[in-house]
Symmetry: C2
Subunit: 285 residues, 2 copies
């Protein structure tokens, strides 16, 4: 059987009791390590599980899935996913491939950033579709997220923005020369995201949000040193939230009083918070 086991968000102890039992008895244990990271090293996981863990990069999962599935018709294979196996990145392709090969699957859910973001005090009910923000380059500043934010904003809903992760990326030169040399991993910060949001509004000029619109930055959700900061996009553009992973929520017009009361405690500056709130938020329609 193929077991897709969610690891949750922070460290080795966020696995569920059920998930840990599976890891301990599985024949092989893979860790999906290219769409999200835990806040601890693989060696920490191996020590905690008492088992070797095989890192599964994008290449292995997308092209070599039959290697992962080898023998799974007879023994238990565990495929560990940071967050939830069907959360921000779904692994339905692996499940479908297993099904084609006649291999049974079992999914062990866990916290995902898609629900964990509730720790900000914003109601998950009031979120619209989720968008992703990639690292802009000089010539590539995709703004399809902007149209989706507009759709959410027209209804008055919050938008969760998931921030880019670059793991095992090759430079153009190394790629061209076929050298398997990888750049150091990069994780987008709340400040980088806020800066790119403002830049996109300046380019598009359609008023979907403004430099003084409110957003919530969240870092290391679920970890003991989790950090939440609320401010205008301008304020967040220079905030330091510390180590990865970061996420950001653009506040929706329909923010409820209870949500306001909760997030206000995280304000960079209560005065700018109140001024922006008064200007744009707290509408019931």
């Amino acid at each position: 059987m193929l077991h897709l086991v969610g690891l949750g968000l922070a460290d080795e102890k966020d696995i569920t009791v059920r998930g840990l039992e599976i890891v301990k008895k599985a024949e092989r244990v893979y860790l999906e390590a290219y769409t999200a990271i835990l806040l601890v090293d693989k060696s920490k996981l191996e020590e905690f599980y008492g088992r070797p863990v095989i890192e599964a990069d994008r290449e292995l999962v997308e092209s070599g899935s039959d290697d992962i599935l080898a023998g799974a018709d007879k023994t238990d294979i565990a495929f560990l996913v940071v967050g939830d196996p069907f959360g921000a990145t779904t692994h339905t392709d692996l499940v479908l491939r297993a099904r084609e090969l006649g291999i049974q699957t079992n999914v062990v859910p866990n916290a995902s950033i898609m629900s964990g973001i509730g720790c900000t005090g914003l109601q998950l009910y009031n979120f619209g579709q989720t968008v992703s923000m990639v690292f802009f380059t000089e010539n590539w500043k995709p703004s399809s997220f902007y149209d989706k934010v507009r759709e959410n904003a027209q209804i008055g809903l919050h938008t969760l923005v998931l921030l880019d992760i670059k793991v095992k990326e090759q430079s153009m030169e190394n790629l061209a020369r076929g050298r398997r040399i990888f750049e150091p991993p990069r994780y987008m910060t709340v400040a980088q995201c806020a800066t790119q949001l403002v830049e996109t509004e300046e380019t598009r000029q359609e008023g979907v949000y403004h430099a003084d619109s409110l957003a919530v930055g969240a870092a290391r959700v679920g970890a003991p040193d989790q950090k939440i900061v609320v401010g205008t996009l301008e304020e967040l553009s220079s905030v330091d939230m510390g180590a990865p992973l970061h996420s950001l929520v653009l506040l929706g017009r329909r923010t409820h009083d209870l949500e306001r009361d909760y997030i206000r405690q995280f304000a960079v500056d209560e005065k700018t918070f109140d001024a922006s709130y008064q200007k744009y938020y707290g509408h019931s329609t």
Copy 2:
């Protein structure tokens, strides 16, 4: 310290290792037992934890929260929540009250139905706001959910419908006479929800969805006997999904081919699935 510990969705083994450590050392352990249920009895939890568990009903949480918090400035109090502490029902009021009393809080995330619904194969990215469906009575058939579904549908997004739970409800007579006699708990089924959806469309007649629109029913998400069924609302109106808890997703117009391929395996009838899909779904805009 007040620890809000998510229990996940199915049974006693869905708690995280971190959560279990907290429960084992806490001075008192409360279980929030009125907005969601685990699929096991409280006694099963007590046996697994080796600790007594105090059931916290709505009255205790909303009016008696100071009893829950008593002593939490000096010792550890665990407040267990089915799903995630900030998931479908948020407990921000309890956290704010603790803060007023100078009590530190700690949240242990877990799977919530808000992310667990990803097990259907539908991308969490593509969900709009979440709605709730309450039990209709002869004279009370609230349809505010219908307007929210319309907002999601206009964008083409999926809508998660959370189904009503009636726990510790009193009959009008017992309430009037002040008798603390409670009705047996009731959990809305996918079939009841689909029926009420169709009834509401017939009343409102605004074409937000149709009797032959597709929906995904999910029962006991995360449990070994989890069940997913896909069909038209008409088909789902007579489907038997077994024991609670149930949820339903109304499919959005923008459903992706990958989502279709995954959910089709759960179709009540592939022919009606394909016919409805062709009619309403798979549009990229």
